[in-house]
Symmetry: C2
């Protein structure tokens, strides 16, 4: 699962320590025995130190080619967070990026997710 965290019209991306490299939304895999909502709260905390509350479902991305390692399904949430993020765990670094000025190298299908989110946020 992955999480879109927006703050002052920018979204939080992490620079990945592991293959595939590039920037991505904070996220990771659900552990056996936890819900996807619990998993996204845990992964965001691990990678960014931020606490999110009440993540909302944004979409489900399951193109077999979305992850070069293997076929994975991502449940994508969006959430608000307060405080200042700090990179840790799988994140080498992080930052907030303008949705209209994203970094060049974005891992997985997260550029598509971010484009979909950019359209979605104009409607809400």
């Amino acid at each position: 699962m992955d999480c879109i965290i927006e703050k002052q019209n920018k979204v939080l991306l992490v620079s990945r320590k592991n293959y595939p490299f590039g920037f991505s939304l904070p996220g990771g895999f659900v552990d056996y025995g936890e819900s996807v909502e619990q998993a996204v709260i845990r992964e965001v905390k691990e990678e960014t130190s931020l606490d999110i509350v009440e993540p909302k479902l944004f979409g489900v991305y399951s193109d077999p080619a979305r992850d070069p390692r293997s076929h994975t399904v991502s449940v994508v949430f969006y959430a608000k967070a307060s405080g200042n993020p700090k990179a840790s765990d799988d994140a080498r670094d992080l930052g907030f990026f303008d949705l209209d000025n994203l970094p060049d190298e974005i891992a997985f299908d997260h550029l598509k997710i971010l484009k979909d989110y950019n359209e979605f946020r104009k409607k809400i």
Copy 2:
């Protein structure tokens, strides 16, 4: 994944051939290499012979206790279908049920999904 198919204010449920028994939404597991949208179209066809088009995301259900066999995540869609369904594959029988008069024995967390859907459909 599972699919809510509504027709004339009733939803389609199948009577399961395999444990856990009872009625359930048509659905099943995503095969490696297919998207969840492809999977839900395939599973509905296999179990009910119906063709659905453009399934829409309803929710993601991942309570670790939702499936007595193991921890599973279900991406739930809703879709329209035309024609008459016919039970096959994992479905012993099937029928359309009024959301306010559902059968007693419903497998997995599908009663919760159907209650959530009943609330949702009042708003759309």
